[in-house]
Each structure stands twice: as structure tokens, then as C-alpha cells.
């Protein structure tokens, strides 16, 4: 929103994305919105809409979508847009039942319109955009982050008054002036807090420590101790997290298939039985991580593994469509080597928070099928080489992504799953099942891969040793993308799908190639020498 002419005549030129599969309604809505002097982009598929939003970040101010879309549930789209792009979303439907409307609101819709829609209803949608900006501005003001000045400038003359207050920058007296901090701040160009991998990790840790049942924004905020972060930021993030978890649980309950996969290795340690758990259970506060275990086809598994030390996250950098792979990093505080034998398909599972014992991981997909499929194949080979492959499904276009993390490196593989199943296979090499996992965010649409196990190389091969220190330290770079409403955490998305057999990942276009990365993705070649997580 840097267009000065728009600022003058707000809401003229409001950029609206309309998503509806009904061509008649689409035509009507487009006409109505144009008559309101808005800039309209139409889209007939939710998946396309999502990729549009991702590909052209900051190109839209508001999204209007029908609830019933053929390729994706409108509510899921709603969630994802809210999470990733933090745009206001309005739902539409011919169905006006209270339960539906409620669901819409629960999923974050800022309004729910009933069809037939009148033009006057559309005329007023700008208020949602305005309200959001106001809210963000307030947050910013509270914390003296001055980047939002440009936002406020572009917004309305009224904000000029506030700019004076925002001019001063408060000294950050905390030692936490890490990259993460800078990233967060820098990323708050639009005065949105970017929940980087690091930040989210801290958040999750804090929640874990407090105990999910007793958690509250203030407590989390205090524990996290991040200067510049507001209670509101944490509060809204927590809300999303909760939504995510509850959605997982619901989806899990609807799911029927759970397959247990027996990995070939014998995990040592308490987590040994993860592969046998057919249901997600006992995810303790830390159980948000989903282990990616070999042959993990049952997404319903929540390995007890997660139970504890999941402190690290693995973000797998997936190969994007072009097939470039970014580094895969995993870090984990605890190393519990397992014997290797990496089975073939690891499914990304989402563990659910322990107070929701049956979350299902399956939602690894759900991102729009943009055709980014990363195929990963893991063959059970010898420990040393681990290749992580993430297989995405529906269309069988797979770009093989093999990552070969260097020894002692952290593998971060952010994966956005778009379709039904997510599986991460580790090829060759041993993957410590504990080291690899998927941590999912509360939003319900994110999955974090967190290392649940440690790679163990039989022949002293390269292993990714998970550093004990700050789990996400190596990931932090991945986290923040400027100008992206997208949190790095958000890249993991999953939709409810019953089996995580394929990992549909959708690498955000902007993400991988985003020059804003503060760190260079490491290209791992797929070779036999792969070590993995």
C-alpha cells in the first residue's frame, strides 16, 4: 500500500481478490466491486487463489471467498490466508446457518455474507482493511517500531499525527538482539509481527513450559522475553495456534486410516514406540512436533517421542518446482540416536498438543496444489546417506528433492504441504526418528518439521547432529521474509488428509528465492553421502 493516490482516496482502489467457483456470481461480484471503485481480481479455485496470494504478496488488501469451493474447503482457505498473509477474509455463502457462520468466525473470517449479496454490503468491506491497519498500527505504536510509518503514510492522512510518536525508537535493552530480532523488526514493515521459525519455536517452548491449559498471552510473553513483542501479538498467535490444534483434532477424529509403520530401526530411548502408535496421543506440551519417521504412513501417530525434548525443529527446505533444494536443517537439543534403518516413507505427522490427544497429523497437505511436488524417496540404505525426500502427491509431478545435510548442520526444511498427504522419506542414511519431526503450529495449518530423532550414521557417516543450543538458531534465517505476511512458520501447511503418505509441499514462490533471506540456502546434492537428520 505504498501508492499515494490510493491513500488519498481510500478506499478507492482497494485491491480485492474474489474467490468463487460459480461463474455467474463471479461476474456479478466483479461488477459490483468495480462499481465500488475497487480493483478486482477474480479466481475460480481456492488453490489458485492461494498461489496468487503467495506469489504476489502485498498485492491484495482483502480476500472474499465462497465457502464451498470444489478444490478446497473455504474455511481452510480462510485459515491459511489469515495465517500466512494476515489479510482480512470475508466469507460468502448461500447457506446462512448459524453454525456455519460461527465456523467462519472461528476460522478467522472478518465477515460472513449471505448470498444473494447486495452491492451495499460490498461497499463497506473496506472497513475490515482499515480496522486491521488500525490494530496493527496500534501495536506498532505501542512498541515503537517505526517501520510502519510508511504503512501509516500510505494509509490515511489521519495517521500523520501518529507518526510523530512513532519516530522514536526505543532502545532494545535486551540482549536478544539476535538476527531473529532484527528479522522480526525488519520484517515488520507493515507492522506485522512475523512469526519466524525461531520466534514460533520460542512461543511453543513457552507454551509447553507453562502448560497448555494454563497458558495465557501474558505468561507466554514473559517467558519468551522478546522485546518488541506485544501481548496482543502473542494473544492472536495463541488463538491461531489453538484453532490449529483443534482443527487437527477434529480432522483426526474424522480420519479413519491409520497405519502403523514399522521402521526398520529400533529406536532407543523412550520414543521407541512412536511408530506403533496409531493414534496421536500423548503429545505433551512439546508434542507439537511430528516425527517424521520412516514409513510413516499413519499420520496418526504421535510418537511418544515428541513427548519431550522436542525443542528443535527441522525445517526441510524443499525443493521448489525448479528443483533446487535448500538446506535441510535440523536441530535438536537432545540427541537420542536410534539405530538407523531408515525406512522409506516418513510421514509427516503432526502431533497434537497433549491436551488433545488425538490430533492427526494428516493435515500436511492442504496447500494449494500448485504442482509443487517434491518427491522424496528414501530407500533404506545405509546410514550414512540420508536423503530426505518429501513426496507430494496428488499430481504426480514430483520434483525430487534430496537434501543432504552436512554433518552437524541443521536441516531446515520448511515444507508446505498442499495436498493430502505428506510424507517425508528419508533415503539412505539413518534418520533418528527422534530427530525428525514435524512440529505444527497451532493454527492448524502449519507444520513444523522438527527433528525428533537424530541421525545416526553407522559408519560414522555424516550425521546431522543436532545442536543442543538454541534449536532454531540455524533456522532463524529461514524464518523471516520481509514483506511477507507469511510467517516462516506458515510455510508448513497441511490440510486434513487422511494419510500422510505423500507430502505435498508447496514451496512458496517467494520464499525460497526470496532475497530477503539472511542466509543462503544450501544446496545439497543428492549423493550417497547424505546424512541426515
Amino acid at each position: 500500500m505504498e501508492n499515494p493516490s490510493r491513500a488519498e482516496a481510500f478506499p478507492v482502489g482497494l485491491r480485492v481478490l474474489v474467490v468463487d467457483d460459480d461463474p455467474t456470481w463471479m461476474k456479478i461480484l466483479e461488477k459490483m466491486l468495480r462499481k465500488c471503485s475497487y480493483e478486482v481480481t477474480t479466481c475460480g479455485l481456492a488453490t489458485v487463489a492461494l498461489s496468487l496470494l503467495r506469489g504476489r504478496r502485498d498485492k491484495f488488501d482483502i480476500v472474499i471467498s465462497d465457502v464451498n469451493m470444489p478444490d478446497m474447503d473455504g474455511f481452510e482457505l480462510l485459515e491459511q490466508v489469515g495465517l500466512e498473509m494476515d489479510l482480512p477474509v470475508i466469507m460468502m455463502s448461500v447457506n446462512g446457518e448459524t453454525s456455519r457462520v460461527m465456523k467462519g468466525v472461528q476460522h478467522g473470517a472478518c465477515d460472513y455474507l449471505l448470498k444473494p449479496i447486495r452491492m451495499k454490503e460490498l461497499r463497506n468491506i473496506w472497513q475490515h482493511v482499515y480496522r486491521k491497519k488500525m490494530h496493527e498500527l496500534k501495536e506498532v505504536e505501542d512498541h515503537d517500531i517505526s517501520e510502519d510509518i510508511q504503512m501509516s503514510r500510505s494509509f490515511s492522512e489521519d495517521f500523520d499525527d501518529r507518526q510523530g510518536c512513532l519516530g522514536k525508537r526505543k532502545d532494545l535493552d535486551s540482549k536478544e538482539t539476535s538476527d531473529q530480532e532484527c528479522n522480526d523488526t525488519a520484517a515488520v514493515k507493515k507492522s506485522r509481527v512475523v512469526w519466524s521459525v525461531d520466534l514460533h519455536q520460542k512461543f511453543v517452548n513457552a507454551v509447553k513450559e507453562i502448560g497448555f491449559d494454563k497458558v495465557g498471552p501474558k505468561k507466554i510473553l514473559d517467558l519468551m522475553n522478546i522485546p518488541g513483542l506485544t501481548r496482543e501479538n502473542v494473544g492472536s498467535h495463541l488463538q491461531k495456534y489453538r484453532l490449529y490444534l483443534s482443527r487437527l483434532q477434529k480432522q483426526h477424529e474424522e480420519r479413519s486410516s491409520v497405519k502403523n509403520i514399522q521402521p526398520d530401526f529400533n529406536p532407543t530411548g523412550p520414543r521407541a514406540n512412536f511408530q506403533n502408535s496409531a493414534t496421536m496421543n500423548q503429545i505433551s506440551a512439546s508434542g507439537r512436533y511430528v516425527p517424521i519417521t520412516q514409513n510413516f504412513q499413519a499420520y496418526n501417530r504421535t510418537p511418544a517421542i515428541f513427548a519431550n525434548n522436542v525443542k528443535s525443529t527441522v525445517a526441510l527446505r524443499l525443493k521448489d518446482q525448479m528443483g533446487t533444494i535448500s538446506s535441510v536443517e535440523t536441530s535438536t537439543p537432545k540427541q537420542e540416536p536410534w539405530s538407523n534403518g531408515i525406512p522409506l516413507t516418513s510421514c509427516v505427522q503432526r502431533s497434537k498438543h497433549d491436551h488433545e490427544p488425538n490430533s492427526s497429523l494428516e493435515d500436511c497437505s492442504h496447500l494449494p496444489l500448485t504442482g509443487q511436488i517434491h518427491q522424496t524417496t528414501t530407500s533404506q540404505s545405509l546410514p550414512p546417506t540420508s536423503i530426505i525426500s518429501v513426496a507430494c502427491n496428488p499430481e504426480q509431478k514430483t520434483a525430487s528433492t534430496r537434501t543432504k545435510p552436512a554433518l552437524n548442520s541443521t536441516v531446515v526444511l520448511p515444507v508446505i504441504c498442499t495436498s493430502d498427504s505428506v510424507s517425508v522419506q528419508v533415503e539412505r542414511g539413518s534418520v533418528d526418528s527422534q530427530g525428525f519431526g514435524v512440529k505444527h503450529e497451532t493454527d492448524g495449518s502449519k507444520i513444523w518439521m522438527s527433528p525428533l530423532r537424530e541421525p545416526r550414521a553407522k559408519n560414522e557417516k555424516d550425521f546431522v547432529s543436532l545442536p543442543e543450543e538454541s534449536p532454531l538458531s540455524s533456522l532463524q534465517n529461514i524464518g523471516c521474509f520481509e514483506n511477507i505476511g507469511l510467517n516462516s512458520m506458515d510455510i508448513f501447511q497441511h490440510t486434513g488428509s487422511t494419510s500422510l503418505t505423500g507430502f505435498h509441499s508447496n514451496w512458496y514462490d517467494g520464499l525460497e528465492f526470496n532475497g530477503d533471506y539472511s542466509f543462503d540456502p544450501v544446496e545439497y546434492q543428492v549423493t550417497d553421502d547424505c546424512l541426515f537428520v
Partner: protein, 151 residues
């Protein structure tokens, strides 16, 4: 004059469509949207509606034939059609759609089949009437708002 006769006819037809419940106020909305940028907006939308709804009707026909027990599917299709009918204010068609869905809820296949016949019939009738209406309009120009039936 012929011209004003035609105009009167068009106005009358329009009014009867409203009076008899074929159309509701949504149709008014469409007319309001019509402007110099889109001078044939209403007709375009209506054409689009019939094209799309025919496809949906076909889907339902097939579903009734091939998988008549899949009420969920039937309901989904009909829900789509219903949403579509609301776009142009096809009131009677929409009403029949609702009835159909009620039969679906009760898993009453016979009711569904019968109801569907009604849906198709209303759909066909509306199509005919609107075609006649637009034809008149082409000959006369848009009908005066003042003659619009108030709903």
C-alpha cells in the same frame, strides 16, 4: 406506436415475472449494475447462469442415474445450483432446489426424483420467459425503472 407497444410489452413481461415469483429482487440488483460500461450486463449474466446451471442439472441427472444413493453428492450438486439461482434471483427454481435438498436430507430418492423434475421444469420455463424478455428488450431498449414491479 410499435415501439412503445413493444416497450409496454417488455415492461409487462417483466412485471409478471416478478409478480409470479419467477424473479426476485436480486434481478433488480442486476439491472442496477448495468451501465454504459456493461450495457448488456443483465443479459450476459442470465446467459451465463443458464449455461452453468444446465451443466449442474446435467450433473444431477447423471448422479440420479448412476449413484442415486449418494445423497451427499446429490445435495452438494443441488447446493451449487441453489447458490447459482440466487445470483439472478431465480426464485421459483431456487425454491424447488430447496425442496429437493429436503428430500435428500431424508434420503428419499423418489422425492428427489420428483422434485428434480420440478426443478428442471421451472428452470426451462424461466429460461423461456427470460429469452422472450430479452428479445423484447433488444427491440426496445431497457425498460423504465418506474414500471418495475415492487417486491
Amino acid at each position: 406506436m410499435d415501439y412503445s407497444n413493444l416497450q409496454r410489452k417488455a415492461a409487462y413481461l417483466r412485471k409478471s415475472l416478478f409478480d409470479q415469483g419467477y424473479l426476485d429482487e436480486q434481478f433488480d440488483q442486476l439491472e442496477e449494475l448495468q451501465d454504459e460500461v456493461n450495457p448488456n450486463f443483465v443479459e450476459e449474466v442470465v446467459t451465463l447462469f443458464f449455461k452453468d446451471s444446465s451443466r449442474l442439472l446435467n450433473n444431477i441427472d447423471q448422479a440420479l442415474e448412476k449413484s442415486p444413493n449418494d445423497f451427499r453428492k446429490l445435495d452438494t450438486y443441488m447446493h451449487q445450483l441453489q447458490g447459482s439461482t440466487s445470483s439472478i434471483g431465480a426464485f421459483r427454481v431456487k425454491r424447488e432446489c430447496t425442496l429437493f435438498r429436503e428430500y435428500c436430507d431424508k434420503e428419499n430418492i423418489e422425492g428427489c426424483v420428483k422434485s428434480f423434475q420440478k426443478v428442471k421444469r421451472e428452470h426451462a420455463v424461466l429460461r423461456q420467459k427470460l429469452e422472450a424478455y430479452f428479445q423484447l428488450l433488444r427491440q426496445t431498449g431497457p425498460v423504465e425503472r418506474a414500471t418495475r414491479a415492487s417486491n
